[in-house]
């Protein structure tokens, strides 16, 4: 328990939280990268996936995008973007690299969720005379909702974890606490940095679970 104890000591030392390389500042940077990235990723992936799911096309596209996404190392994208003129624009390389990383899981989950809606339910809704729009809003979206939220949760956790790589490209975020600890051979600081990232990921996941339940369109009927 020595390493965790030392990390706790590190975390409870007020000086480590203050200043340019303190936890508060790195946490703010991390939240900024992750938040902007997730918002942009949702705006790109969700409308596309829901639409493709609604019209029932592009399944192989969704699967292929997610496979390609897995093959492209985030570190490589991050470093490539840092070397382009975009690299001078503060956190832009990090945000773009993370968006490329977050879009595939969001896209795949939302698409699969839409396609897994029971076909007989869709047929019944059509038989009742629902238009395409009504079918989408009142039947498909509510039924696909849990899967969409699962995708959002896993994307959020992965983005928060992966945003630490920004440190390897010289950008900010909580990864800097880890790399600084690594460079100084300070295990306590590395563990402390990892703990803060882990806590942030768990907190975000918890918030999304609560928000997911609160906004569930079928809250009254779905059993938890």
């Amino acid at each position: 328990m020595g390493a965790v104890g030392d990390a706790w000591t590190w975390l409870t030392t007020g000086a480590n939280w203050q200043g340019e390389s303190g936890v508060w500042h790195r946490l703010a940077e991390h939240l900024w990268f992750s938040g902007v990235c997730l918002a942009v990723s949702c705006l790109i992936a969700l409308p596309l996936a829901l639409w493709l799911g609604h019209i029932g096309r592009g399944g192989s596209l969704a699967v292929n995008i997610s496979n390609i996404g897995r093959a492209v190392p985030t570190l490589a994208v991050l470093v490539l973007l840092t070397l382009t003129p975009l690299g001078r624009q503060g956190g832009l390389p990090t945000i773009i690299a993370l968006v490329l990383f977050a879009v595939p899981p969001l896209l795949t989950n939302a698409y699969v969720g839409m396609r897994e809606v029971d076909r007989s339910v869709v047929e019944a809704a059509r038989g009742m005379g629902m238009s395409g729009g009504q079918l989408f809003l009142r039947v498909e979206l509510p039924l696909a909702y849990p899967m969409v939220m699962t995708g959002l949760r896993s994307a959020t956790v992965q983005v928060i974890a992966t945003a630490t790589l920004a440190a390897m490209a010289g950008e900010g975020g909580l990864g800097r606490i880890i790399t600084a600890g690594f460079n100084r051979n300070d295990t306590a600081q590395v563990v402390a940095g990892a703990l803060v990232v882990g806590a942030l990921a768990l907190l975000a996941e918890g918030l999304l679970v609560v928000a997911g339940r609160a906004f569930d369109p079928m809250r009254a009927t779905r059993e938890h």
Partner: protein
């Protein structure tokens, strides 16, 4: 970087695409690629060697499913940067450190897919084999594993592609294969090196995926959709 200054043409201009770079640093690129490949292969093989007993254990004792799957999921959520940093006191600056981290990451996908594959084996096939006098070991090796192979191979492909990408983070401890070229290229602002290494990394992942797909087809000839005109192959989840 003296080479950048002395060499003429695209190296001096620090172009993104540079044949001169590929020619003059062929040895360096080959070494990095070889390191990348062996780190990936060793990690996935050890990952499989660990994931199989784990999956069999979970299947035999369903009460362990929660803890084992939960633990591998938690491992997956640890940032790679933190994982490699945390293993440093145990392994020092070594390839074993990178391999250990990659093995831990691969377990999530591998254990889940092996379990899913075994669970999808038709009960009738098991009954028939038992009726023919197959013992548990022979049942596993000759009936269950071959039938679970498509799901297992899907997991191996996913784990391999992810591992190729994640190996780059090993650059933190100088055992990142092509990733090391990417990070040193960043430090010296060497565009050709970063782009070439990145492209090679993606090509490596694609090649590994295709190779494993071919292996899967070879091992499971009965799953090939042969001579069924008009039958559509559905993309798996």
């Amino acid at each position: 970087m003296s080479a950048v200054v002395s060499a003429a043409g695209c190296l001096a201009a620090n172009d993104w695409i540079c044949g001169e770079y590929v020619r003059s640093r062929a040895q360096e690129l080959t070494d990095a690629t070889v390191q990348h490949v062996w780190i990936t292969v060793v990690s996935v093989l050890i990952g499989l060697a660990v994931a199989f007993p784990l999956a069999l254990l979970v299947r035999a004792r369903p009460r362990l499913a929660g803890p084992v799957l939960g633990l591998t999921t938690v491992l997956y959520a640890i940032p790679s940067l933190a994982m490699f940093s945390l293993l440093l006191p145990l392994f020092g600056l070594s390839a074993a450190l990178v391999v250990t981290g990659l093995v831990l990451y691969s377990l999530t996908i591998l254990v889940r897919n092996i379990l899913a594959g075994l669970a999808a084996v038709p009960q009738e096939a098991r009954e028939a084999a038992r009726g023919m006098g197959y013992g548990p070991g022979r049942l596993l090796w000759e009936v269950e594993l071959p039938l679970a192979l498509p799901a297992v191979m899907a997991g191996v492909r996913m784990a391999t592609v992810s591992t190729v990408a994640l190996t780059t983070v090993g650059a933190l401890v100088d055992y990142g294969g092509l990733g090391t070229l990417i990070t040193t290229g960043l430090k010296s602002f060497f565009k050709a090196q970063v782009l070439t290494a990145s492209v090679l990394c993606v090509l490596l992942a694609v090649a590994a995926d295709l190779l494993l797909l071919a292996l899967q087809r070879l091992l499971t000839p009965w799953t090939r959709p042969a001579r069924t005109p008009g039958a559509r192959i559905r993309g798996a989840g």
